[in-house]
Symmetry: C2
Subunit: 443 residues, 2 copies
């Protein structure tokens, strides 16, 4: 009974798997192309991942960083969106297997992004918390607020420490931004909301295996970031790796241990490969080998972009491009132009990443930013960070809601969305037999 | 190990169960009283229930109508909040049993509000959807959007109708407001987001057993409301009761059937009684018999307010006051004053409800309102409705976010928060053993 119901067309069909930065920019670039675009995503929204950490730390409502994909493309007549989980590719038949049936393609673009990478450490994978999806960020917010509430019920200092210590692993932008936001929770929210809790029992740690934080930026920015984190009271442990974590005690490579029930892992990401490809095109981190026009090695009509693509033709990036939004955005836009070129019989143009710079916020009035040879830090970098993020956020409503949250937080030092959304024992929705199991249990 | 950890005090302790309209107004009224106030709620936020229907219909983000209880009382030094599920009362010992341990009280106030009442019809209770909590509203939003997405995958018209027909049961303000909001989804969102879906297959029904909608208001307002619903295309069935509902087919008392997978039940509410009371004080609808100062019949220090209280001393309301926010607010405030009186040795003053009027919105530019002998309808009532709701919403941030959503929706006809928040198969958070089961599964 279930079938994708995508109207057949005389035009070649471009199927895009994933509505992230790469997928939506590719789809937009194909707006006036003589193709039929089919966009698939497991969610019905595009997620603005760079602000996920603010949802996790009760600074923004989840809805403010998610934008309905149907809204983005409501004026694009050649695009059909379907909410679907893609299972596998049968490339010899040009068919995609999904949970809503089989979908034929002429061009297939894999833009599935990445997920948390625990590098095969099952003990850590089981006990640590990743943050790559909206539901994960909401769960972290619920979990963190619950630790505060439950700490009030304890008398044993060691158990309280376990609940109030928060450890971020990975000194990249996500780890730094999370650590900064947790430190601000400690500084501005804890004393007001929980005056009974001894603040010295709450500590924020940032653990980084390498010699510096924000290693992709300049030495000066790393130093600035360290100073900012130190000012906020974050304990940064450099050249330190995680050895073991059983859910309550973290063992570090330097022999130290930290008691914590909250290990937030942002030390790595890996691709989301589809089934149906030979091992030869898949890399250990789950991404796929592509040529200079994002064509997957050995295929003539299957492309991968963004975090899923490993492109090695740029001498500046011998190990491939970093897994960042800008690469996905640029590859999406250029692949769109290239598909249009190929339809007109022109050759595709090789992709070359244009580094627009990078930035990270540490906390109130503190950020670091580098672009076009300019290095900023402190207040001006923080303003630049906010402006860039607001401008890139999709949708007028979302921009306004995020702006108001920031404005409000700046002047009140408050975080408005510190609510725990859970089902109470007494008011579980009666979701009947006709509702899918997934709807009933997986909010 | 777990215990409430509420500091002992020489002052009498007032324990308030429930942070709804009644509970928070009582707690506020006790700010400068020589008592220790202990506020318990299963959630860490106060919910502004009158706007719940807008969350359910993708018009507002859940966070905008929830306000952290700790934020409300951050400057009230005599108040201690604990997130707790209250199980039972041992009134002979003045002790409350909760999931965080036992709590002693001098005054106990039951302000637990109400839940959906299916009047003992188990088949309907199993298959219909109630809307009394934030998680229920979010689940309805997810569910409704999922019906739209899944309709696209079907060819059988009967199955599509099942997914696109939405039936509200109960012609009170909640039913009317939900029906109006669904009709607006149909009118403004469906054609833009789902141009492939035939709009005539989506129908909104409002089923009311009595002879008119908004029966608590004037005949003229009922007529106005009917006209407004008719304009929006809502099919209103008066003098019609629900007989049976198996999850896909609804049988009505007039012999008709409606194919629907979405039956939203707002035909009644019932109290949330605590264990430990004799049947003699509990009424069939779960509320408790109280005297004119909200004292529960037969007790000297246990009070019930709001939806939980049935007060019969007012000759204007021989069956007791309606279960509305205003009664809870006024009873909370007055019980606070009365507890202060009793501590000064004065007698408590009898409660008398001051009806401030009532209002309901039907849709864009359409509402009905009645207060102080004045009857409004149409645009001016709609503006009044928005002003009253904005002013009563707690918190500057929430007011701004709600205002922006309304402003945006008014000019764009769009609904910004139409996102489905669910766990994807591939990115379930790894919530380890140390996280409580409730945190892991009950977002």
């Amino acid at each position: 009974m279930i079938q994708p119901n995508i109207p057949e067309s005389d035009r070649p069909r471009v199927v895009i798997v994933g509505g992230g930065f790469g997928g939506i920019n590719l789809a937009k670039a194909l707006k006036h192309a003589p193709v039929q675009v089919v966009l698939l995503d497991r969610n019905n929204y595009h997620l603005f991942q760079p602000l996920l950490y603010q949802v996790a730390t009760a600074g923004l409502e989840p809805d403010s960083i998610a934008f309905p994909l149907r809204g983005i493309f409501k004026n694009q007549k050649n695009l059909h969106f379907r909410m679907a989980e893609v299972k596998a590719v049968r490339s010899e038949e040009n068919v995609l297997e999904t949970n809503i049936g089989e979908i034929r393609y002429n061009y297939l673009v894999i833009a599935t992004g990445s997920n948390t990478n625990f590098f095969g450490n099952n003990q850590i994978a089981e006990n640590a918390i990743g943050m790559k999806s909206l539901i994960e960020a909401v769960q972290i917010r619920n979990y963190v607020l619950k630790q505060f509430e439950e700490s009030l019920l304890l008398n044993d200092e060691r158990l309280i420490r376990r609940k109030l210590n928060f450890v971020m692993v990975g000194g990249g932008p996500t780890g730094v931004e999370l650590a900064g936001a947790f430190a601000e929770l400690r500084k501005y929210i804890l004393p007001k909301d929980y005056p009974e809790l001894p603040i010295h029992l709450m500590n924020i740690f940032l653990v980084e295996a390498g010699p510096r934080v924000l290693a992709s930026m300049s030495e000066a920015s790393s130093v600035n970031t360290l100073k900012g984190l130190d000012f906020l009271g974050v304990k940064v442990l450099l050249n330190t790796a995680v050895k073991e974590y059983d859910g309550t005690t973290l063992k570090l490579s330097n022999g130290d241990t930290i008691e914590t029930q909250s290990l937030l892992w942002s030390a790595g990401v890996k691709g989301f490969p589809l089934e149906g490809f030979p091992d030869s095109v898949l890399l250990p981190n789950g991404s796929m080998k592509v040529n200079e026009v994002n064509l997957v090695e050995g295929y003539s009509n299957i492309y991968a972009i963004g975090d899923m693509a490993r492109m090695l033709n740029d001498e500046r990036f011998p190990k491939g491009y970093p897994m960042v939004a800008q690469v996905a955005i640029q590859q999406g836009a250029q692949l769109g132009a290239n598909i249009k070129n190929s339809l007109r019989g022109k050759v595709m143009k090789a992709f070359r990443y244009k580094d627009l710079g990078s930035m990270a916020t540490i906390g109130r009035n503190r950020a670091v930013a580098e672009f076009a040879g300019i290095r900023l830090s402190g207040y001006i970098a923080w303003i630049a960070w906010m402006a860039v993020h607001l401008l890139n956020l999709l949708g007028f409503r979302n921009k306004l809601v995020v702006f108001i949250n920031w404005f409000y937080r700046y002047f009140t030092y408050d975080r408005g969305t510190r609510i725990i959304i859970k089902r109470g024992a007494a008011n579980i929705v009666k979701l009947g037999k006709t509702m899918d199991q997934t709807t009933a249990s997986n909010i």
